[in-house]
Symmetry: none
Subunit: 226 residues, 2 copies
Amino acid sequence: MSRPLTARQQHVFDFIVKTMGEFGYPPTRAEIAKALGFRSPNAAEEHLRALERKGAIRIIRNTSRGIRLPNQEPQELVDSTASALPAANIEASPAGLPVIGEVAAGSPILAAEHIDRYCPLPAEYFTPKADYLLRVRGLSMKDIGILEGDLLAVHRTERVRDGQIVVARLDDEVTVKRFKRQGHQVTLFAENADFAPIEIDLRSQSLDIEGVGVGVIRGGNGQALG
Amino acid sequence: MSRPLTARQQHVFDFIVKTMGEFGYPPTRAEIAKALGFRSPNAAEEHLRALERKGAIRIIRNTSRGIRLPNQEPQELVDSTASALPAANIEASPAGLPVIGEVAAGSPILAAEHIDRYCPLPAEYFTPKADYLLRVRGLSMKDIGILEGDLLAVHRTERVRDGQIVVARLDDEVTVKRFKRQGHQVTLFAENADFAPIEIDLRSQSLDIEGVGVGVIRGGNGQALG
DNA sequence: TCGATAAGTGGTTAAGTATACAGTATGTTC
DNA sequence: GAACATACTGTATACTTAACCACTTATCGA
């Protein structure tokens, strides 16, 4: 899948490695452009994207100096496991579970423009089956181990029971909470003492249930642990 | 000449070290404030200045993430005792990543009798690649969202850096902790206020590093969420 | 000759970020 | 008890940076 780097891409990559070794942090687009003699930071931007496509680096979106080397890991001079992955037949799986990032207000969750990428895991790995993975924002569920950036595996359904972790849409905002209902009164509990429960009266407010949480994945595709 | 750091300053410094080890770049003021619970980024700014006055860090002005550690030693090799575990290697199976449950004292982790089942996820989904999944016992890492029963994706290596989540073998017991080393002294931190850090003197005690944590999976194959 | 990819220029915009200023509160030191 | 350092909250501003759009040039294989 990943072709070798072009000469120019290699120059950019080398500069990133050099900068990180020298300064302890990765370069900005402008710094790359200056070092390589570009007049526009956009040239650097496009090289970075090419490098990411080819798996040489990972870009953390909306983050200054958000460049990571996959082999951030100390290099093993002699790879004891002798795996030395050939990278030849690591083809991207055709399908897998779609990963949903930002959800624009008013639009359905499973719209193509929300799909960041795919996670090569069968839907049936979770029970009930997962329909998509939702990238979690905020720390409102941290006490049960659901952190910012985690992927929440979601089973689409509107039928939920008390105590389940639900993905709900409230005032066009998508949120993950623990569900409880008493008559027409629904309470959405955060699992974090800093967040107050949300009370909804179904007679006066609308609440859409998008699904229930059935699993969590963290660390895939470069997201960090800890 | 420079006075020792105060406790709070040490916290800030530790967070900087941890962030650099983990992400490859230093934190912003806002990230420090969030991590330490400050409501204002200015609190972080003033701590950084104090750290610079005391020589613990250097600040590059007008530069995002412009923090440098004077002792720029990126990677550290732990192990002095050269554990040399007998590569009891389970081949990368077409079935996916092996899930390791209980690990009997004295036996290598990747022994066939420990394998519960397989998780159908490619090793390369994580970076660096995962070699196996370890079922976590106990709540010592709950503050970073690693709970009892979770599967920790582990990359086999003995080379670890400060701040990483490691799988270590201490007195024939396998444990997951955050790693920190200063000379002969290794500290394994739990991420849970109820657990005290574990101090190891490499001159008198043996510590084997089995690998580093690269991801977490919860909820697969029937395990419940929340 | 067409289409795709690489490698740029040039400019815009919104978000990320460093940093200044004005306070409050609590210690420790002389 | 005044002087000073630590440890913050809160607000504001300007610079830094990522990311987008429109466009150009050149190369390569079908």
